[in-house]
Amino acid sequence: MGMFSESVDVVCTPSGQPLKLGWAGRHYTVCAEPVRWYERRQWWAEESRAPLGSGPGLVDHEIWRVQVRLSDPSPEGGARGEILTLDLSRHVGSGRWRLLRIHDALRTLPKRRRA
């Protein structure tokens, strides 16, 4: 699993679920139902201020785990069928998306969800 933090463009459904995303010049389609959660931040180490009324986004951030597949066949003939599992975070104020993690173990996710 790699750790990243780079900007991605995400197109969402009206209810706010990611549908398509553009990353590093390529276009991907979300191919399975995404999972969403809120993850804690070590805000006391990452922030220099925490005044009353700073609003949402200080203590946690919204994470979406999506499975995506390339929308267009790659020029190098990369496998169109290959599925990537990505963790995206949505910044609460700006609504901008960042890519946090790329998972290698593709099959872990459905298992976890059964619980």
């Binding site: 201020r49 009353l52 949402p56 200080l58 203590v59």
Partner: protein, 1145 residues
């Protein structure tokens, strides 16, 4: 769509909840809710505030508790298995609320009421089950919610399948049908963590398997997302671990989603859970419907369920009357007339009758007669105990209270208005406060419990909220900062709300250094300090814990414990979870029985006077009292020498002379630096002046500049001005300045004819944004109709508006002035006994050592500690020898010596006198370090002298020191009745004289270390050479200086005050004691800037300033600069550092 939150912690869940009930109710109402629950942890701490907030927001209140349940498998007494939410059902005539109160009391019954007890606040499952049904109808009256934090929910955090089911079955087996529900919560935490959607799904499935209704909640801790960070800090404060530690554990909330979500958001959550569970629309509908159905079942009807606003007093039979309470009250008042007003006749008698009928009429129509009889019963009980008691507060406005001995103030004499206390227009139970001797307070409480029965009495509690110092400490702990560093910062925070910390950084000179560090752009430290400031502000005012209120006792009938949960107080007596704000809404009768140290000190003084002068003649001679009607002394002194303080006439000239001298240290209410300045200026001549003085020394009058015009008029510097001749009778006693509430009432009445009862309602409305406008309208209309000129109306309204909200109730002033006068009277006539009482009970604002200095100033000898003469309390003693022979001195007490236990003290006193050290060891079984300390303080000096030894105190201490390291030999057992041989003290006699005797500096240091009092010499005395070189002026010389003289003064800090001031700019009063008296200095803005961190942190001060005359006998210093006297290097005077300052500490 509407959604009801059934699991909500308010800020009154100490160290857990973040938001105030008002915020939560307002947020819920804004989202369209029709009801809202308050389920604080461990109690109903926020319930009444919640009820009020719901009423204001137009919501129905749901009432419950979040409670730990003891683990059936674990140690039954100490291990909690999980937490459940218990909701009371409503609309059942209080059956649900009653069961809830009793259940919560059960949960606290085994705890000790002290911090850190081993037994947690929790119930057993059996207790819980037994409370869930109506005792008669057997209908369910409580619903228990099993949620993610219950034992079932906790067992679901792993992947175990069987365990949660086993635990759930236990609940089903234990609880009556219809009393359980499953609480489904998803706070959208990461998959696999508690409070994740998967976690919620498991609970939902389990409920479905067993046909138990499931409800949706969000286990709310804060009204909005912003509260999440505060909740983190509270978790840290509760667990005493830093955020990094908690995060690693992991013990923090998984994320920040525990806020009061909107109905749409809750529906979306429900949808998400259903989707994850593989359930459909119908299931979602059912979940939401069951939630609302339970909410409907739990809507409280405030009046019928919780007794809202219905006063309850003890049953008539309990206060010992059979018939109509009003008839009985009238009968007792009648009896009181003969006692309080012997021989009254004619016009005064008519006036008295009219007033009494008026009061009884109002009391009767409100149905409060039983209340007055109850209070009278308590007052009688206290007096029967022989304990000094005095009513304070507006209760002193009532003639009835005076006649039934509840109050000692004659309201007719001081023109006090009954309506200020009680009127037909005000149906709330009035407050009657009784001051008793502090040393007897707990005793009085126990007697009240015994008299009325434990089921009718409980102590009131109070909420202790975060203030700046505590907040900065806990914020620092959360950030993992160094304790010492945070402590240093905390020390500099001086009485401002934590919420204004950042603002204070910019303004307050004493925080300048810290502010500089915050601003430094060095990231790591600065980041932490910046956060420290923010987190401190977040904690401001949040409740930390409840404790016993210093005086409130709640009295009720046999149903009291159905109406309030109780828990043990530190004292062992039960304490209600409700505070003073909850009393009136819940119809609870509260009596303030306040322990007043001054009452104890005065009682002590009176006993000392009898002991020293056991006859009337001796007391009259010793106190220079007047000859009295028959020449044998006044009536208030009994034949045995007992002084009836309450009977002392209030016109003793020497007493007023003392007050005017401003040497009022130790006197009730008038000893503070500000008050000494005011009495100096005002120069009271009679009792009414004292009432005025006490009433003026309040934040309102000081802030709004009432004092200066009052003084100018009083001393005739400026002519008195009245807005209208009609108001002259109302304002004459205060020279045209409105000071008292009573004057506001009369002004309203004179100019509008509204009657005094309505006038008091108007007064209450002043300062209230919503109501004041209406009052103004009425006042202007009616006053104009009575042909008052527009400019008169304008002017008077301006006064009412400005002073109405904070003027002082004259009845309060009068009630306070009585002990003020009595204490000054004792200081005037029996100063030794009075000072001994002060030392014994320590009633004032100053450290004891300042009172020692006062004794020195008065020339009262302070007699050293002596193993055979000192007792467990301070004693007045006639000096037997030396230059003070024949005078009265005060013998130091053996109590208050560092390291000497209460048991040792008792044994020493019980076995006195001793003829030798061996005798002391054998009979008092005092520890070796204890004996050494007594030797250091000179307690054996007289024994030593008597033995004829040649050695000194230092030799003895060395000898005892050596003994400490030798193995203890078993003492010779003395057979009872056997007399020791009268050998004297061989040990002391044979002691070799080797060491030089301890010097004065060393002796004083020992005294300060072991007793916190400098007895042998003032601790400033050792600084005298330096001070003389610097040209420092002593306190006793100041009065001889001209106004505006530049001086240097020095001394030990004895008081620091920052009273509210006109214009809102802070003024700091610092008083230092230099051994010749007290110097009061004032630091205005500039001087505060100059003094910086010295303002609050430094003990020994050198101050430069100019004298300002405050009255004929008063003078103070307007400071311009201060230095720390103990840091000689910093003193800006050549050669200062060269003078040794060996005596400071």
């Amino acid at each position: 769509m509407s959604f009801t939150h059934l699991h909500v912690s308010t800020a009154f869940s100490a160290h857990y909840g973040v938001s105030w009930p008002e915020e939560l109710a307002a947020a819920a109402a804004a989202d369209g809710a029709t009801a809202l629950a308050c389920t604080d942890r461990d109690g109903l701490y926020g319930t009444v505030k919640h009820l009020l907030a719901c009423m204001a927001a137009g919501l129905d209140a749901v009432v419950g508790v979040d409670l730990a349940v003891l683990d059936d498998d674990g140690d039954l007494r100490t291990q909690a298995g999980g937490r459940v939410v218990v909701l009371a059902h409503g609309h059942n005539n209080g059956a649900g609320y009653r069961a809830l109160c009793r259940l919560i009391s059960d949960a606290h019954a085994r705890t000790t009421g002290k911090a850190g007890g081993a037994v947690p606040v929790a119930v057993t499952r059996a207790e819980l089950a037994s409370r869930t049904l109506h005792p008669e109808t057997l209908d369910p009256v409580l619903t228990v919610l099993l949620g993610p934090d219950s034992d079932v929910g906790r067992a679901m955090r792993g992947r175990r399948y069987l365990r949660p089911r086993t635990l759930f079955k236990r609940w089903l087996d234990a609880m009556p049908p219809g009393t359980l529900a499953a609480e489904v919560v998803s706070q959208l935490s990461p998959p696999g963590e508690p409070l994740s959607t998967a976690h919620a799904v498991r609970m939902l499935r389990l409920a479905a398997e067993h046909g138990v209704p499931a409800v949706l909640s969000n286990a709310v801790r804060y009204a909005a997302e912003d509260g999440a960070a505060t909740a983190d800090v509270l978790d840290s404060a509760r667990t005493l671990k830093s955020l990094p530690e908690l995060s690693a554990a992991p013990q923090l909330q998984p994320n920040g989603q525990a806020w009061l979500k909107s109905p749409a958001q809750m529906l979306a959550l429900g949808k998400e859970i259903m989707h994850a569970a593989g359930y459909g629309r119908t299931d979602l509908k059912r979940l939401m419907a069951q939630t609302e159905a339970l909410a409907d079942r739990c809507r409280m009807e405030p009046a019928t369920d919780m007794g809202w606003k219905q006063p309850v007093v003890p049953e008539a039979s309990v206060i010992g009357i059979a018939g109509d309470p009003l008839v009985e009250l009238a009968r007792r008042c009648e009896a009181g007339i003969g006692r309080r007003f012997p021989g009254i006749a004619g016009k005064p008698a008519e006036a008295l009758r009219a007033r009494l009928d008026h009061e009884l009429g109002i009391i009767g129509s409100l149905g409060f007669a039983a209340y007055f009889l109850t209070v009278a019963e308590v007052a009688r009980m206290i007096l029967d105990l022989g304990v000094r008691a005095a009513a304070r507060g507006s209760g002193a406005s009532s003639l009835v209270n005076y006649l039934i001995d509840v109050s000692q103030v004659n309201p007719l004499q001081h023109d006090l208005i009954f309506e200020r206390f009680l009127s037909r227009d005000r149906a709330t139970l009035p407050d009657i406060d009784i001051d008793v001797e502090s040393a007897e307070r707990h005793n009085v409480y126990r007697k009240i419990f015994a008299r009325f029965g434990a089921e009718r009495v409980t102590l009131m509690s109070m909420q202790n909220g975060y203030r700046a110092r505590g907040a900065v400490r806990d914020a620092g702990q959360a950030l993992g900062m160094d304790d010492g560093e945070v402590g240093e910062i905390a020390k500099q925070l001086w009485r401002f709300p934590a919420r204004n910390f950042r603002e204070a950084l910019a303004e307050k000179p004493e925080l300048r250094e810290f502010a500089g560090r915050v601003e430094q752009r060095d990231f790591t430290e600065n980041q932490q300090l910046d956060l420290l400031v923010d987190l401190t502000e977040r904690l401001d005012r949040l409740p930390r814990h409840i404790s016993m209120h210093p005086c409130g006792v709640i009295l009720g009938d046999a149903t009291l414990l159905d109406r309030t949960p109780v828990q043990p107080s530190g004292l062992g007596l039960p304490m209600s979870q409700f505070d003073k704000h909850d009393m009136d809404p819940m119809g609870m009768l509260k009596l303030d029985v306040l322990g007043v140290r001054m009452q104890s000190a005065m009682a002590f003084a009176v006993r000392e006077v009898i002991r020293l002068h056991p006859s009337k003649a001796e007391v009259v001679a010793a106190g220079a009292h007047p000859a009295g009607p028959d020449g044998n002394g006044p009536d208030y002194i009994a034949e045995d020498g007992h002084i009836d303080l309450n009977a002392v006439p209030l016109d003793d000239e020497p007493t007023y002379e003392l007050i005017r001298s401003t040497h009022t240290l130790g006197c009730f209410q008038i000893e503070s630096p500000g008050q000494r300045e005011l009495v100096g200026k005002l120069a009271p001549r009679d009792f009414n002046d004292l009432i005025i003085d006490i009433s003026l020394f309040r934040p309102g009058p000081m802030k709004s500049d009432m004092v200066r015009p009052f003084l100018e008029h009083r001393h005739g510097f400026a002519p008195e001005v009245y807005p209208h001749p009609d108001l002259v009778p109302v304002l004459q006693e205060t020279h045209g300045v409105t000071v008292f509430h009573e004057q506001i009432l009369k002004t309203f009445d004179v100019m509008t004819g509204c009657g005094l009862a309505r006038a008091d309602e108007f007064r209450r409305a002043l300062g209230n944004e919503m109501l004041e406008g209406k009052v103004e309208e009425f006042f202007r209309k009616e006053a104009r109709a009575r042909r008052y000129a527009p400019e008169v109306v304008d002017k008077v309204w301006g006064t009412l508006k400005a002073f109405g909200s904070f003027g002082f109730c004259k009845a309060h002033g009068a009630a306070f002035a009585v002990p003020t006068y009595q204490s000054a009277w004792l200081k005037t006539h029996h100063p030794e006994a009075f000072l001994a009482g002060l030392w014994e009970h320590d009633p004032g604002m100053y450290p004891k050592r300042l009172l020692v200095a006062e004794a020195r100033r008065l020339g009262i000898p302070i007699l050293p500690l002596d193993i055979n003469r000192s007792q467990a309390e301070y004693r007045v003693e006639r000096v037997a020898a030396g230059p003070d022979r024949g005078r009265l001195g005060i013998r130091l007490s053996l109590s208050g010596i560092y390291g000497l236990s209460g048991a040792e003290l008792k044994r020493i006193v019980a076995a006195q006198p001793y003829d030798s050290l061996a005798d002391l060891r054998a009979r008092s079984r005092l520890s070796r370090p204890g004996i050494k300390r007594l030797a250091q303080l000179g307690a054996f000096d007289s024994l030593h002298r008597a033995s004829g030894g040649a050695a000194n105190r230092a030799d003895l201490v060395r000898h005892l020191q050596d003994l400490q390291h030798r193995p203890q030999r078993k003492g010779v057992e003395v057979i009872e009745g056997q007399l020791a041989l009268p050998l004297g003290d061989i040990e002391l006699r044979n002691l070799k004289a080797e060491l030089p005797a301890p010097g004065m500096v060393e002796t004083v240091r020992t005294e300060l270390d072991l007793m916190a009092v400098d007895v042998s010499e003032h601790l400033m005395a050792s600084h005298r050479p330096l001070l003389d070189r610097l040209g420092v002026t002593t306190a006793d010389k100041l009065l001889g200086l001209r106004n505006g003289t530049e001086v240097l003064v020095a001394g030990v800090r004895v008081a620091t005050q920052t009273p509210p001031m006109r214009g809102g700019r802070r003024v700091v009063f610092i008083s230092v004691d230099d051994g010749t008296g007290c110097v009061d200095s004032v630091f205005f803005h500039e001087a505060q800037e100059q003094a910086g961190s010295l303002l609050f942190g430094t003990r020994l001060l050198l101050i430069r300033g100019t004298t300002r005359r405050t009255g004929p006998r008063g003078i103070s210093i307007s400071a311009s600069m201060a230095w720390d006297l103990s840091r000689t290097g910093t003193l800006p005077f050549p050669g200062a550092a060269l003078v040794g300052l060996s005596g400071n500490r």
